[in-house]
Amino acid sequence: MSLLSTILRRLVLLAFVVAGVAVVTFTISHLIPGDPAQLIAGDKASAETLAHVRQELGLDKPVTQQFVIYVRQLLSGDLGNSLRTRRPVATDIALFLPATLELGITALFMAILLGVPLGVLSAIFKDGPVDQAARAVSVAGISMPVFWFGLALIIVFYVKIPILPGSARIDLGVIPPPRVTGFFLIDSLVAGDLTAFRSTLYHLVLPAFVLAFANLGIITRQIRASMLDVLQEDYVRTARANGLSRSAIILRHALPNALIPSVTLLGLAFGDLLYGAVLTETIFAWPGMGSYVVSSIQTLDFPAIMGFTIVASLGYVLINLAVDLTYMVLDPQIRELG
């Protein structure tokens, strides 16, 4: 199975998944009590106004017809208009999603860059001080709620020892880079604006660490466990019997094999990070999807919620695809035999 045919096959499957999600979101939005027309028109609106709003939203048509319209709009990339912001939902998502992705990806990198070495060291020095410390960090990461840990970090590094910013994506005095991708780190580099880049980086540190910390523990434990497994494998003994250096054995023989079972976990962790972003964004006043969705739910903004759900499920499917492709890169047996 080649890489390309896997990608194509999975993209076809993706269409089915999104169709399924569309049916579910549409159904749920019509089953939930609460009348969007009433919400828009307000409590004191007359029956006439209400009927007018209904007609405008297409809510007076039969349900089946509404679904057909909905699907037709979806196919043309139209997620409807937000009842709250009055803008197309697609525009809103394009506006807020990059902020969330920037935070989530930074957090994922942080979790991997800290978690993998920590897991490897814990396995090599099993039951030693590093391992014990890593175990404490893992338990803390898994058991500390994001909102508590986030606030604690804000108090320490923003209030008591003010070395890191505690809110927003960029300093107030710094002009955000002109929008190309929506990722401030990339856009500021594109614009050659190092001040904006540095400011964005500083702003990312705390929220990304809070997000990363919860997953750091899980990644560390997983890498530790699979390293311990792999270090007992016969081929590691072969490498030792052939006099290879410790670093070659660990980095070239053990780690690449230990990473394979961890890839699924990393994919799941990324999904988690995006969900965790909802809380983290609220704490750090991060203008991302999290804040947007919370506000949408509070105002029963159905088009926005449905649009977000579709985009999120699309994201999950793409993450799964990325996981499978990573497997193919790491494991020749999957690559060559499919």
Partner: protein, 331 residues
Amino acid sequence: MSAQRGDILLDIDDLSLEFRTFRGAVKALNGISIKVRAGEIVGVVGESGCGKSVTMMAAMRLLPKGSARITGGAVRLFGSDPMKLSERELQHVRGRQVSTIFQEPMNALNPTRRIGEQVIEVIRRHQRLSNAAARQKAIGLLRDMLISEPERIMQAYPFELSGGMRQRVLIAMAFSCEPKLIIADEPTTALDVTVQALILSLIRQKAVSTGTAVVFISHDMAVVSQLCDRLYVLYAGRVAESGTTASVLAAPAHPYTRALIRCLPGLAAPKQPLEQIPGTLPDMLNPPPGCLFRARCREADERCVEVPPLSAIDPSRRAACWRRIEETEAA
């Protein structure tokens, strides 16, 4: 260091070793002595659990850290004590001077790396060769192992090869740095009988042509007898008998050796029920006093409550059995 034929490469002297377990210390080795000289092929035989592999892995210091503890005796590998070498010094002994072929070829190669990379890595670890030169050398080694398309095999991943093919790659790897000594730990046990003969002859030919000494660990008396100049028969962590292959097979001295030979399925007398040795290995947590084979021995008597020393019973042979010692003294 160039070894002359006859130089002692590996000298295991009265080695005792135990494994710490939750139930107590398992006394795996109880005073084993084995000498290997340059250029000779030495067989170490015995049933599972008798300490064959443990002895050799202990000498190479390849046993997992922490669980095994040497309680007596000494090892000299190329004149130095491997237990006193640093990890770095040990790395230059392993692969370069003594290399190992293991029992299970299926998992003995890294599944995520190509065969070529793995062979070249070992070659370049111990020899100053360019990548291209190491590659040529690797191809030559594979060809010596009668691998027909070595260039293609170099590109393959282990899962694409059969067990016999993998073992040939591992043998090529073991010989790659012209070691003085090779430890072959049941290299054919996991393979088909048809492949076994080929693998054995490949090891033997390569060893003879390069003057490499081989320690051949096996539970199979038939295999060992075809291959080895000298034999050590191990039982319960002790040497029961040692001597030249011809003399041991012609007239086995120790009752355990006799039993092992009787267990061989004879082609000459088919359809005879196979012999087996009654009983099992003694409990190595609390080994009984005296000769450890006593409970399973047809010839045991009251003398056997004491441990028989490994004694010369003729010029080419030593055995640890009171009967033989008495007979030798009487003669």
